[in-house]
């Protein structure tokens, strides 16, 4: 058998391959991932400014453990280990930015290993995962260490960093009905997951991603549009609520999730129409979870749920070939 294969390989052949025959050398995984890292810079800087060494510690833990996990699991699959495509870096940064700064060190380590191992490598590595790896890791620790990851886990009244001593805006409203000012939600000096507090930083990075076409604009547009619609309906039903549509848009990890997590090209649908449906679904799930579940925020579960529906959406939105009836 092996000899036959060798023969076929060495025989002179006419090169026949399915299209596309021309591909842009610039459009590589590596370039896209570097784009995401660049887009994350304003978010990382805000996190470092607001949370100080809490953010630095969490970023360091996640990046180090994601690299270690990547190395170990790639070795187990006897594949060449390389960090050159920056996908592990992106997973690590997004994961770190989605964790609370106060989380103990093992939360970041375990989340990283689950993200790379169960989220990515087990499905076959980069480009094969059906769920967003960073969100798989976060969901695992969220359920495993409920006390460290629940809303109360974000607060530490003894902390020297101002933001950490407050309740997160989403939780403060859910538990006690206290609203946070829109400017605080926009600029970000509030408590929350490291990357989510500043809507401004997320918008800057997100617009860069969309302009570079690394992220498809349909997904964040779909998310935001459906959140606006559902939050609007919620406000009409309950007009005395202090938490307006704008609070829903700027608060929590909505913008961070819409621009950086939902736009993962691997686990989102292929066609523009599919992407729009995907975004609308995420927005709808977010509002469902925010309004009716016990959790103050639902971006992570919304993204994971829609990831599971991605193959179905792909099947619904197969584009019609030219001339086909």
């Amino acid at each position: 058998m092996a000899e036959n294969i060798k023969k076929i390989k060495t025989a002179p052949v006419i090169h026949v391959a399915p299209s596309p025959h021309l591909s842009s050398m610039a459009l590589t995984t590596r370039r896209m991932m570097i784009d995401v890292v660049i887009a994350l810079i304003p978010v990382v800087l805000t996190a470092l400014y607001v949370f100080r060494w809490y953010a630095a510690k969490q970023l360091f833990i996640c990046i180090a453990s994601c690299f270690a996990a990547e190395m170990i699991f790639m070795k187990m699959r006897s594949k060449a280990f390389s960090l050159n495509d920056y996908s592990a870096t992106v997973t690590a940064i997004i994961l770190a930015l989605s964790l609370p700064g106060t989380a103990p060190w093992y939360v970041g380590v375990i989340a990283s290993f689950v993200a790379i191992g169960i989220g990515k490598v087990i499905f076959g590595g980069v480009g094969m995962n059906i769920f967003n790896p960073a969100m798989v890791g976060r969901a695992f620790v969220m359920i495993a260490f409920a006390s460290a990851m629940a809303a109360s886990g974000y607060e530490d009244s003894a902390s020297a960093v101002d933001a950490i001593t407050q309740a997160t805006p989403m939780d403060a409203f859910k538990q006690t009905g206290i609203t946070t000012s829109l400017s605080a939600l926009f600029w970000g000096p509030t408590n929350g997951s490291l990357g989510e507090t500043s809507a401004f930083a997320c918008i800057i990075g997100g617009l860069y991603l969309c302009m570079r076409r690394t992220a498809s604009w349909e997904i964040p547009t779909g998310v935001i549009a459906s959140v606006v619609v559902f939050a609007g309906i919620a406000n009409l039903v309950n007009p005395q609520s202090q938490w307006t549509v704008l609070h829903h848009l700027l608060g929590g990890s909505l913008l961070f999730g819409a621009f950086f997590i939902a736009t993962d090209p691997v686990s989102s649908p292929l066609t523009p129409k599919g992407k729009f449906i995907f975004g609308i679904g995420i927005g709808a799930f977010i509002m469902l979870l925010r309004l009716f579940s016990g959790y103050p925020e639902g971006v992570m579960f919304a993204v994971l749920l829609m990831n599971a529906l991605t193959p179905l959406i792909n099947r619904w939105t197969v584009p019609r070939a030219l001339g086909e009836q």
Partner: protein, 207 residues
């Protein structure tokens, strides 16, 4: 008729080469549901072992009376008899455990391991072979259940059989005692068993 496996072969095959959980992927409902603690897993394994042994022996004794089109009904009735005995026994002498296992003891009736063994082995072979087959399969099932339960109990609560094996500062991985932990642990252990299998067969040159 092809040569039927001997009693010894049946016994050995049930433990690892044809492990009911890791190789045949049978009886996954109790495997996933009752493995969040070693005590529950061991009780479950014992109940299955008792039912499997009795059902196999009885089926083997009456194998010449079986009508082919009625055999599944007879298997199920035989199994149900012994499941009822096991269920009532647990409720009488181990009430707390019977509460913990809940519906999973009565559900042994539809456990496909037992029907499968009656069909494959007991309805065709002698009592001795059927009994040793039942023992081998039960040991295999117990091994699978306790391996999953050990991982889940140690990581999820830091305890083993209710004894603390990890330091008190161990952060409990709550997810491991919840249903997702069962799927993750089972999947990873199944992968490991397959990996060991393929590694072995590669080494012995079967590929």
């Amino acid at each position: 008729m092809v040569d039927q496996p001997t009693p010894l072969e049946r016994f050995v095959q049930g433990i690892l080469p044809e492990n009911p959980v890791y190789r045949q992927l049978l009886g996954l409902c109790p495997t996933l549901a009752v493995t969040n603690g070693m005590k529950a897993a061991v009780t479950m394994s014992c109940a299955v072992a008792f039912v499997l042994l009795c059902a196999n022996v009885i089926t083997s004794l009456i194998r010449n009376l079986l009508k082919p089109h009625l055999r599944i009904v007879i298997f199920t009735l035989t199994i149900a008899t012994f499941v009822t005995i096991a269920d009532r026994f647990l409720a009488a002498y181990m009430y707390q455990m019977s509460k913990t296992l809940g519906p999973y003891i009565p559900l042994i009736i539809v456990n496909c391991i037992i029907i499968c063994r009656c069909e494959v082995c007991a309805s065709k072979q002698s009592v001795l072979t059927a009994a040793s087959d039942a023992l081998g399969q039960s040991i295999g099932f117990a091994l699978a259940l306790s391996s999953i339960a050990a991982v889940r109990e140690i990581l999820g609560t830091g305890m083993f059989f209710g004894w603390r094996v990890l330091p008190i500062s161990w952060p409990d991985w709550v997810i491991m005692v919840l249903p997702p932990g069962a799927f993750l642990t089972f999947g990873i252990l199944l992968g490991t068993v397959n990996w060991i299998g393929s590694y072995r067969s590669e080494k012995s040159g079967n590929r």
